[in-house]
C-alpha cells in the first residue's frame, strides 16, 4: 500500500486508498473515498512522489537498469516505468497513476532504495470529461486495481487507459466483447472492434514471402502441376491510432546503398530486352538434377545462365570491364566474377562466383549453394561480396517479366531475368507448342558499350540457352 504523506499539513491524515484524491469535481470516481488531507485546495497538476515498493525477500536496494520513460512523458496507470535488478531478479516497475513524469530520481546503474522516491509524477487533473453515466463510483477492490463501469446494469471491467481509448474513438464499452480475464476489455479488443468498423488490417499479417536466397536461383518452372503460385500477402503494419508519421535515420547498410545507387545512376544506362525459349534447357535440367543431387548439390537454372554469360563475355570482353572515374581508361577484367543478386532481410546483397571462365556448370552450382546458405545465415565474407565484374539478377523467382536493372559500379553491365512462363509459340513447322519462355532485360553503360554489342552478346547468350548442346562446343 502506498501511503502518501503530506508534509505541510499540521494535522496529518493518511490516505488508505491506493489513489490520490483529486479535488476537481469532474473526476467523481473516487470522490466518496476522499478524505480531507490538505488544507489548501489544489485544482490540478499535483506532483506525487512515486516510491519504490517492496520487492519481497527482504530486499532493500536494487539497481536501476533501464528507464522506459523520460521526463515530460505521459504515463497511464500500469504503464511500465523502469526495469530494476536485484540478485538475479529483474523487476518491472509500473506506474500507479495517470500523469506526466516530472522527475527521474535515478540514472542507469544507480542503486535505488525501497521506500524512497523513484519518480515524480504530475497527476492528471482529468482533462476531457468522461461521460458521467459511464463512470460508477465503486470502491476500488483491495487487490484489483481496475475501475468498473456499470452500463445498463452490466459490469464491464476496463482499465482507465482502455476506457480513454474507447472514449477517444466514441465507442461504448458495452458493445465490446472483452477477451481478458473475467471478460475484461483489453486494448486489443478495442483495436479489433475498430478494425472491423473501418476495414483496416489488424493485427499485422505475416510478412510477404520474401524468397530466401536458397530459392532465389530456382526460376520457378511454370509446369502445369505447379499451379500453386504464391499470392503475395501484402505486408501490413499495425495501425498507429495516433496517426503519426515515423521518421527513422538512414543507417548502416542503407546508407551504403544510398551512396552506391547515387553513383550508379550517374552511369548513362541503356536497356535491351529479349525473350528466351528455355524449353530445351528445362528438359536438360530435369535430366541433370538427380545427378547433381547424388553429388549433394541443388541444381537450379542459374549455373547455366552464369556459364552462358561467361562464354558470351569471352566474345565480348568489353561487357566485363570497368571504366575509371575520369572515363580515361577502360580496364578489361581477366576474371569473370559473376555476381548473383540475393534478397535478404537487410536488403540486396550481391555475392559473386569467382572465375566462372574456368568453372564447369557443376562447379558453379556448388559455389552457388555455398553462397546461398551463407547468405541466408547472414555469414557472407568480404571476399564473397567484392571483386564482382558482371551481375545477373534473377528477380523472376519473386515475379515479373521485364525489368530495368541498375548497373552496380564499378561494373558496366547487368542482366535481370524474369520468371519462366509457359506460353504458346510457333515452332519451325508452324505448329503451336507449349514453350517455356523467360524474359531478359539488360542494362549497360552507354559511355563504352553500344547497343549493337549488347544485342550480339544477348543473342549469343540466348543461343547457348535455347540450344544447350551448342554450349558443349565452346566450353573451356
Amino acid at each position: 500500500v502506498c501511503i502518501h504523506r503530506v508534509r505541510s499539513c499540521s494535522s496529518i491524515r493518511f490516505i488508505k486508498s491506493k489513489y490520490v484524491c483529486v479535488f476537481d469535481k469532474s473526476a467523481l470516481k473516487f470522490s466518496h473515498q476522499q478524505r480531507l488531507f490538505r488544507t489548501s485546495a489544489v485544482s490540478c497538476g499535483q506532483i506525487v512522489q512515486f516510491k519504490l515498493s517492496d520487492i519481497g525477500e527482504g530486499i532493500t536496494e536494487v539497481t536501476v537498469k533501464e528507464w522506459y520513460v523520460k521526463e515530460g512523458d505521459s504515463v497511464s496507470q500500469f504503464d511500465s516505468i523502469c526495469e530494476v535488478q536485484s540478485d538475479k531478479a529483474s523487476v518491472t516497475i509500473t506506474s500507479r497513476y495517470d500523469g506526466v513524469i516530472r522527475k527521474l530520481h535515478y540514472s542507469i546503474d544507480d542503486i535505488a532504495f525501497v521506500g524512497k522516491p523513484l519518480v515524480d509524477i504530475e497527476i492528471d487533473a482529468s482533462k476531457g470529461v468522461a461521460p458521467e453515466e459511464d463512470v460508477v463510483e465503486t470502491p476500488p477492490m483491495s487487490h484489483e486495481e481496475h475501475t468498473h463501469q456499470e452500463i445498463k446494469g452490466h459490469k464491464t471491467l476496463a482499465t482507465p487507459a482502455v476506457r480513454r481509448l474507447a472514449m477517444e474513438n466514441n465507442i461504448k464499452l458495452s458493445e465490446i466483447v472483452g477477451t481478458g480475464k473475467d471478460n475484461r476489455i483489453l486494448k486489443e479488443d478495442i483495436l479489433n472492434y475498430l478494425a472491423k468498423q473501418t476495414g483496416a488490417i489488424l493485427p499485422p499479417s505475416p510478412k510477404a514471402e520474401i524468397v530466401a536466397p536458397l530459392r532465389k536461383t530456382e526460376a520457378v518452372p511454370a509446369a502445369p502441376k505447379d499451379k500453386a503460385r504464391k499470392i503475395p500477402v501484402p505486408v501490413s503494419r499495425p495501425i498507429a491510432f495516433s496517426g503519426k508519421d515515423k521518421t527513422e535515420p538512414v543507417t548502416g547498410f542503407q546508407k551504403a546503398m544510398v551512396k552506391t545507387m547515387s553513383a550508379a545512376l550517374k552511369i548513362p544506362h541503356f536497356g535491351y530486352c529479349d525473350e528466351i525459349d528455355l524449353t530445351q534447357l528445362v528438359q536438360l535440367r530435369e535430366e541433370l538434377k538427380p545427378l547433381a543431387e547424388l553429388r549433394g548439390v541443388k541444381l537450379s537454372f542459374m549455373p547455366f545462365f552464369i556459364k552462358a554469360a561467361s562464354l558470351g563475355l569471352l566474345q565480348y570482353p568489353i561487357l566485363n570491364s570497368s571504366l575509371d572515374e575520369n572515363c580515361q581508361n577502360v580496364t578489361y577484367k581477366a576474371s569473370h566474377n559473376i555476381g548473383v543478386a540475393m534478397d535478404t532481410e537487410q536488403g540486396l546483397i550481391v555475392p559473386n562466383v569467382k572465375n566462372v571462365q574456368v568453372c564447369s556448370v557443376f562447379d558453379i552450382a556448388v559455389e552457388l549453394n555455398r553462397l546461398q546458405s551463407l547468405g541466408s545465415a547472414g555469414q557472407l565474407g568480404t571476399s564473397d561480396l567484392t571483386g564482382g565484374t558482371f551481375t545477373l539478377s534473377n528477380i523472376g523467382t519473386i515475379g515479373g517479366t521485364y525489368a530495368k536493372p541498375v548497373i552496380l559500379p564499378p561494373e558496366v553491365a547487368i542482366g535481370a531475368l524474369g520468371k519462366i512462363q509457359v506460353l504458346p509459340r510457333f515452332n519451325g513447322k508452324g505448329e503451336v507448342y507449349k514453350a517455356q519462355i523467360m524474359n531478359v532485360s539488360w542494362s549497360a553503360d552507354h559511355r563504352i558499350i553500344d547497343g549493337a554489342t549488347m544485342a550480339r552478346f544477348s543473342n549469343l547468350w540466348k543461343s547457348y540457352l535455347e540450344n544447350p548442346a551448342s554450349m558443349l562446343l565452346d566450353l573451356k
Partner: protein, 372 residues
C-alpha cells in the same frame, strides 16, 4: 538400485500427459505444464504469456521445458561479453535474451528448465529450490545436493548443477532455474568463453562455475526421470494430481498473442539492441606487407549500434575521404559482422579501383569485423 529404476518406470507409465486445452479453468491450487517444443524463443514466449495473462491468485503453475542448443543471456547482459558469438553462428546455436535477470546459461536437451509461477506476493525462490532438492533426494538419497545463499544448487559441495533467475511484474512473478542432467559440457565451456577483448560495460556479468551433470553422478537420472520427480513433488506440495499437461507454444487459440511474443524475442532489437551501453577499446594488429600495424580502435555501442567510432590509422594509409566515409557509415549502424560486411563491401564499389587500396581496405575491414 534396481528397485529405484523399477519405481521410475512405474512413474513414467502412470504419468498422464494430456494435451487438453481446458485446464486453464481448473480450480485446483496448482497446474503442471510441459512444453512440446524445443525452441527457446517459443518457450520463453510461453513464460511471457503466462506472466502477462494468467491469474495466479488461485492457481500456481509449474512449467517444464527443454531446448535444443541455445545460449540464453540475462535481461541486462552483454552477449559479446558473455559468449563466443562467432562460434555460436558457426555451430548454428541460437542466442536468446530472457526477460529475467541473472547470468548466461547454455541450454541443450540435456538441461531441464523449471519455471515456478506465483503471484507477486507468493514469490519465494528458496522454497522452490528446496522442492527440487527434495525431489532429487527422493530419487537418490545418496545425492549430496544443497541450495546456496546465491540460489544455486551445488552437487558434492562444488559443482553447480542449477542456476536461478527471476522476473517480477506488477501482480505476478516467476522464478526459473536450470538443472544439468546430461548436457554437453565441452560445448558449454567453449561457447561461454568470450573471445572479445577490450569491452567495458556495466552489464551484469556472469559468475563462471564448475559444472557437473547429474547423469555423471548417477546414470539413472535422465531428463525424463528428473522432470517427473520434480512434477511429483510439486503435485504433492500443492495437493494436486500428478498430472502433466502438454502445451504447444505454437497454439494461437490456446495462447492468443503468443506468436507475436515469440517473434519479438527473436528480433535483433531485443537480443542485441537491449545490451546496456558499452565501450570497445582495443588494438588491431594488422600484418601488412612487411610490417605490423598497431591500430587503436575505440567505439561506443548503444542499443547495439555504434554511436561513436574512432580508428587510429597511420596518416594517408587510406585516402582521407574514404576513411571519413567508413566512419560515417559505421556510425549508427549495428555492431554486427553481417551488417558491417555488407556496408564495407558496398562502399568499396564507389572507391577508386586500385588493387593496393582494395587490399588495405579489406585488411582493415576484416579486422574490424572480427571485433563483432
Amino acid at each position: 538400485m534396481v528397485l529405484q529404476s523399477l519405481k521410475n518406470c512405474l512413474w513414467l507409465s502412470c504419468v498422464l500427459r494430456t494435451p487438453k486445452a481446458f485446464f486453464w479453468s481448473t480450480a485446483s491450487g496448482g497446474l503442471i505444464i510441459q512444453s512440446v517444443s524445443n525452441d527457446i524463443y517459443q518457450n520463453l514466449a510461453v513464460e511471457d504469456w503466462i506472466h502477462d495473462h494468467m491469474d495466479l491468485e488461485k492457481q500456481q503453475v509449474l512449467f517444464l521445458w527443454r531446448n535444443s542448443p541455445a545460449v540464453v543471456i540475462g535481461r541486462h547482459q552483454n552477449p559479446w561479453q558473455e559468449c563466443n558469438l562467432r562460434l555460436l553462428r558457426q555451430k548454428n546455436i541460437k542466442l536468446a535474451r530472457r526477460r529475467s535477470g541473472g547470468g548466461t546459461v547454455y541450454h541443450d536437451l540435456g538441461n531441464i528448465n523449471l519455471t515456478f509461477f506465483t503471484t507477486r506476493k507468493k514469490y519465494e525462490r528458496m522454497e522452490n529450490l528446496k522442492l527440487i532438492v527434495k525431489a532429487l533426494k527422493a530419487l537418490q538419497p545418496q545425492l549430496d545436493v544443497h541450495v546456496t545463499a546465491r540460489y544455486d544448487i551445488l552437487l558434492d559441495r562444488q559443482y553447480k548443477i542449477s542456476g536461478t533467475a527471476a522476473k517480477l511484474g506488477r501482480t505476478s512473478a516467476y522464478h526459473h532455474c536450470t538443472l544439468l542432467c546430461n548436457t554437453d559440457k565441452s560445448v558449454l565451456s567453449s561457447v561461454l568463453r568470450s573471445p572479445y577483448k577490450g569491452l567495458k560495460s556495466n552489464a551484469t556479468p556472469s559468475v563462471p562455475a564448475l559444472v557437473k551433470n547429474l547423469f555423471e553422478e548417477d546414470p539413472s537420472l535422465t531428463s525424463e526421470v528428473l522432470l517427473d520427480a520434480i512434477a511429483k513433488e510439486y503435485a504433492t506440495q500443492h495437493q494436486i494430481d500428478h498430472h502433466i499437461n502438454l502445451i504447444n507454444p505454437a497454439d494461437e487459440t490456446l495462447l492468443p498473442g503468443i506468436t507475436n511474443k515469440a517473434k519479438e524475442l527473436q528480433t535483433w532489437e531485443w537480443v542485441y539492441g537491449k545490451t546496456p551501453k558499452f565501450n570497445v577499446s582495443t588494438c588491431l594488429n594488422m600484418a601488412y606487407k612487411d610490417s605490423v600495424l598497431d591500430v587503436k580502435v575505440n567505439m561506443d555501442v548503444k542499443h547495439g549500434r555504434i554511436e561513436v567510432c574512432n580508428i587510429d590509422l597511420p596518416e594517408q594509409w587510406l585516402p582521407p575521404g574514404l576513411y571519413s566515409e567508413l566512419v560515417k557509415s559505421l556510425t549508427g549502424s549495428k555492431f554486427c559482422p553481417n551488417e558491417t560486411t555488407t556496408l564495407v563491401t558496398t562502399l568499396l564499389r564507389v572507391c577508386p579501383q586500385d588493387d593496393e587500396l582494395h587490399s588495405r581496405w579489406s585488411l582493415l575491414c576484416e579486422n574490424m569485423i572480427m571485433l563483432m
